[in-house]
C-alpha cells in the first residue's frame, strides 16, 4: 500500500445527518401551507414568500462575503428564516417590509452574534416584532380571495380576525371547520391549521423535531383555555384558541428552533410550558390579541438557564466508590 492513509480521531462512522438536511425538512414541511396560502390569497402569497426568502439568503451571502467568512447559505438556515418570516406577514403587505425584516433577522439577530447556532432569539420572530414598528401594515389582514369552503356549505363571512373576536370575549364568526381549513383572515402561516399540523407531524415522524415542545406548548394552552373559557363552551373555546393565530405555526416550527430552544427533553417540556402560559396570559390580558411570538421570544431568553437547570442525569451519579 503506497498511498497515503487518512488518520483521524474515532468514530469513523457517521449517521449521515447534516444541518442542511434538517433545514430542508423544515422547508418541505412548510410547502403545503405555502401552496394553500397562494391558492387562498392568490399569487401574492408566493411573491411575499419569494421576496422574503430571497432577501434573507442574499443578506446572509452579502454579510459573509463582506466579513470575509466562509459562505453558509448552503446550510439553508437563511431560507428557513425567510420563509418563516413570510409566514408571519399578511399577504397584502408592501414588499419592502419582508426585505427590512429579513435584514433584521439575518444580519442583526443572527450574523452579528456569530451566525447559525450563536443567536439567542429566533431570528424570524425577532424580525416580526421589529416590524411592528410599521404595525398598520402588519395587522391589516386580507380576507382569502378565494374561499373554497363556500362550496362545502360552510359559513365564511369574515370580519375581524378570529383572535380579535376571542380577545373581545366572543367566539369568532368562522366555523371551526373553516379555521382548520384556512378560510379566515390572518398571516399566511396562520391560516391553514390542518396543513401546518400535517407539516408538524412530518417533522416529528422524520425525527427532525421532538414531541416535547409542541405537546407541552399546545397542551398548556389547551388546558388553560378549557379551565377558563371566555366565551362559548369550554371545548369549543379551547379549539378556537388552539386553531387561532400563530399557535400551531409557533408550536411546531418556531418554538422548536434548535438554536433557541433547550437541548434536553425535560428542558423542552419546561420551555413549552412557559410558552403556553405566556401565550394565554398575553392573549387574555395583554394589549395585543396574539401572544405566541412574544411568549417564544421571552422563553428564548431563558434557554440558557433552562439548559443549566435541566442537565441530563449522569450515568452512575449518586453512587459511591467503595475502593
Amino acid at each position: 500500500m503506497d498511498q497515503m492513509l487518512t488518520v483521524s480521531s474515532s468514530p469513523h462512522l457517521h449517521g449521515g445527518e447534516r444541518t442542511h438536511n434538517l433545514m430542508l425538512d423544515v422547508l418541505v414541511a412548510l410547502t403545503p401551507t405555502l401552496l394553500l396560502s397562494s391558492y387562498l390569497f392568490g399569487y401574492r402569497a408566493l411573491l411575499v414568500a419569494a421576496v422574503s426568502v430571497g432577501s434573507a439568503v442574499l443578506f446572509e451571502y452579502l454579510y459573509r462575503k463582506l466579513m470575509k467568512k466562509e459562505n453558509t447559505i448552503a446550510d439553508l438556515s437563511a431560507a428557513v428564516t425567510g420563509l418563516l418570516l413570510a409566514f408571519n406577514l399578511p399577504v397584502n403587505i408592501p414588499l419592502w417590509i419582508p426585505v427590512v425584516g429579513s435584514f433584521f433577522a439575518v444580519v442583526v439577530v443572527k450574523q452579528l452574534f456569530g451566525g447559525l447556532g450563536c443567536n439567542f432569539v429566533n431570528p424570524a420572530l425577532a424580525a416580526r416584532v421589529f416590524l411592528f414598528s410599521w404595525s398598520v401594515h402588519l395587522t391589516t389582514f386580507a380576507r382569502p380571495a378565494l374561499d373554497f369552503t363556500q362550496y362545502l356549505g360552510a359559513d365564511a363571512v369574515t370580519s375581524a380576525t378570529p383572535l380579535a373576536s376571542l380577545k373581545a370575549g366572543a367566539l369568532p364568526s368562522e366555523s371551526l371547520f373553516s379555521m382548520l381549513m384556512g378560510a379566515r383572515g390572518g398571516c399566511m402561516g396562520e391560516t391553514a391549521a390542518l396543513l401546518l399540523l400535517a407539516g408538524g407531524l412530518f417533522l416529528l415522524i422524520r425525527g427532525t423535531i421532538t414531541w416535547q415542545i409542541p405537546v407541552s406548548f399546545l397542551g398548556t394552552v389547551a388546558v388553560l383555555s378549557l379551565l377558563f373559557p371566555a366565551a362559548g363552551s369550554p371545548v369549543e373555546y379551547m379549539l378556537y384558541e388552539l386553531l387561532s393565530g400563530g399557535l400551531i405555526l409557533g408550536a411546531f416550527f418556531m418554538a422548536t428552533d434548535y438554536v433557541t430552544s433547550p437541548v434536553t427533553g425535560k428542558g423542552k417540556l419546561l420551555f413549552g410550558l412557559g410558552c403556553g402560559l405566556l401565550t394565554v396570559f398575553i392573549r387574555r390580558f395583554g394589549g395585543y390579541p396574539e401572544g405566541v411570538s412574544f411568549s417564544i421570544l421571552i422563553m428564548n431568553l431563558l434557554v440558557w438557564f433552562i439548559d443549566k437547570a435541566t442537565l441530563p442525569r449522569r450515568f452512575g451519579k449518586g453512587g459511591k466508590r467503595s475502593v
Binding site: 492513509l5 457517521h14 447559525l116 433547550p262
Partner: protein
C-alpha cells in the same frame, strides 16, 4: 433493562459473520511489542540471538499493573528495537525470526488440577502466567481484574455483545468454540464461588446464542442472555446496567457495582491456559471494512504485521481511506501497516475513501444529548472546552466520557467531539497531577 442513549448504526457484519475462522500462516518475522495492554510495558527477558520456543515467556515486568508477553512462534530473536505499534507510537518490540517449526516450550503443560479444585489464587496465577488481558479491546490485565474483584461481586457477566460494527471475531468464537467459552466462564464462576455466570450476547446474533445454549447442559451454572442490539451494549458499564440495572458509579470500577465482566475471548484464553498451558499467542481478527477484496476472520499469531493480513485477504479493493485497528466507532487509525497484531486486535478494517465531512457550527439540536449513554451533554462539554474552561468541563462530567463516539455519530454539524473530549481528558489528568504536586510542595 436498557441503558439510556446509544445508537443503532449499520452493523455491516454480514460480510464476515458467516465466514469460518481461517488460520493465517505465521510470517517469517514477527514483531511482538512489549506493550499490548493497559499498564506498564513488560521488560524483555531475551536478547538478540536467543532461541525461543512457542509460548515461552519473553517479557515481564515487576510493576503492579502489567501483563506478560510470550513468544507466538518458535525461532530466534533477531533484534529488540522500537517498531511501529497500533497505538501510532513506536514501541519497544521483540522481533522473532520464525523457524517454522512451532516447537512448543517445555513449560507449556496443562494445569494438573481438576477444574473444581482450582483455587482463586491459582486462577489469578493462571491468568497472569498466560498473559491474559481484556481481549475485547480494552486490554486490562485479567489477573489484576480478578484480584480486585475478589469477594466483592455478586454478579459475574461474560461479554459477548460485540456491538462494534463490522467486527465478528467474538461472534465466530461463540459459534466455533462455545464449549471453550463456557468452560472458561465456569472456571471463573467456581473461583468466585458464584451460583451462576451469565453470558451476554446481542440479539442480532441468534446463532451464537443457540450455539452457546447447546452446551449449557454441561455447565449447569451458566446462562445465556440475549440483550437488545444497541451500541455501546458491549461497554462494561452498559452491559452491567442492561443486565442488573445497576450503574457503576462515576470514576469507580465494576466491582463497586458488585459486578465483574470478562470478554468471551478472555474466557476462551483461560480455557486454553488451563487445558493446554498455552499463553496468549494468537487471536481471531476480523479483516473487513468495504475496501478489502475478501473480508475474512483470521486466526493470527500475535506479532503478525497488518500488511500480511491484508495480503491474505486479497489486498485492497478500491481506494482505501482509512485503516483501523478495532471497530469503526472506537478503533484507532493506522498509518503504517508494519504495525503488528497485538492481544487487543479484534479487527483490522479498511474503510473506503470518503468525501471529507467539514465541521460546521453546533446548532444545538440536542441529538448528542439524546445519544450519550453516559448522560452527558456533549455540546456543553465542547463549549466549555472551546472556551478553555477545563474545570467547567470536568464539572459537567468530562471524565465520565467513555469515547464511544455516539455523539459524533449523530452530530449534523459533523463536529469532532470525541477528539476534543479525549484531549480534554488528558489535559484534566495532567492538571490534576500538577495541582497535587503543587499542593504537596506547599506542605
Amino acid at each position: 433493562m436498557r441503558f439510556h442513549g446509544g445508537i443503532h448504526p449499520d452493523y455491516h457484519k454480514g460480510a464476515t459473520s458467516g465466514k469460518k475462522v481461517e488460520p493465517l500462516p505465521p510470517p517469517e518475522l514477527l514483531y511482538v511489542p512489549v506493550s499490548q495492554h493497559i499498564g506498564a510495558p513488560a521488560e524483555p527477558l531475551v536478547a538478540p540471538g536467543d532461541k525461543v520456543a512457542l509460548g515461552q515467556l519473553i517479557a515481564k515486568s515487576e510493576a503492579q499493573l502489567t501483563a506478560r508477553i510470550h513468544a507466538p512462534v518458535s525461532g530466534t530473536v533477531r533484534e529488540i528495537a522500537p517498531h511501529p505499534h497500533p497505538s501510532g507510537r513506536r514501541v519497544q518490540t521483540i522481533v522473532i525470526e520464525n523457524d517454522g517449526l512451532d516447537t512448543v516450550n517445555d513449560e507449556v503443560r496443562p494445569c494438573p488440577k481438576r477444574p473444581e479444585d482450582l483455587t482463586f489464587d491459582e486462577l489469578v496465577a493462571l491468568a497472569r502466567d498466560a498473559g491474559i488481558v481484556g481481549m475485547g479491546g480494552a486490554g486490562f490485565p485479567a489477573h489484576i481484574k480478578l484480584a480486585s474483584a475478589r469477594g466483592k461481586i455478586d454478579t459475574l457477566l461474560i461479554n459477548g455483545a460485540e456491538c462494534e460494527p463490522y467486527l465478528t471475531a467474538d461472534h465466530r468464537l461463540m459459534l466455533e468454540a462455545p464449549e471453550s467459552i463456557l468452560f472458561g466462564a465456569d472456571l471463573l464462576r467456581r473461583c468466585f464461588e458464584m451460583e451462576r455466570v451469565q453470558i451476554c450476547v446481542e440479539d442480532n446474533k441468534p446463532d451464537a446464542v443457540a450455539a452457546l445454549q447447546a452446551h449449557l447442559a454441561d455447565f449447569p451454572g451458566a446462562e445465556v442472555i440475549a440483550l437488545p442490539s444497541k451500541y455501546p451494549q458491549g461497554s462494561e458499564k452498559h452491559i452491567i446496567k442492561a443486565v442488573t440495572g445497576r450503574e457503576v458509579p462515576s470514576g469507580a470500577l465494576p466491582a463497586d457495582a458488585r459486578c465483574a465482566v470478562f470478554n468471551v475471548d478472555t474466557c476462551a484464553s483461560l480455557t486454553r491456559a488451563f487445558r493446554k498451558g498455552l499463553p496468549v499467542h494468537k487471536r481471531i481478527v476480523t479483516v473487513s471494512g468495504g475496501a478489502v477484496a475478501q473480508p475474512k476472520n483470521l486466526l493470527c499469531r500475535i506479532g503478525t504485521p497488518f500488511s500480511e493480513l491484508v495480503a491474505f485477504c486479497g489486498g485492497e479493493q478500491g481506494p482505501v481511506g482509512k485503516v483501523l485497528m478495532g471497530g469503526p466507532m472506537m478503533g484507532a487509525c493506522q498509518f503504517d501497516l508494519a504495525a503488528p497484531v497485538i492481544k487487543t486486535t479484534s479487527g483490522l478494517l479498511l474503510l473506503p475513501e470518503e468525501k471529507p465531512r467539514p465541521e460546521t457550527h453546533c446548532i444545538r439540536c440536542g441529538r448528542c444529548v439524546r445519544a450519550c449513554p453516559m448522560g452527558l451533554a456533549p455540546l456543553h462539554l465542547k463549549r466549555s472546552l472551546d472556551c478553555g474552561e477545563l474545570d467547567g468541563a470536568v464539572r459537567l462530567g468530562l471524565r465520565d466520557c467513555i469515547e464511544c463516539g455516539c455523539c459524533a455519530y449523530v452530530c449534523p454539524a459533523s463536529l469532532d467531539l470525541v477528539a476534543r473530549f479525549r484531549v480534554g481528558k488528558q489535559q484534566a489528568v495532567r492538571q490534576q497531577k500538577e495541582r497535587e504536586a503543587a499542593a504537596s510542595a506547599e506542605k
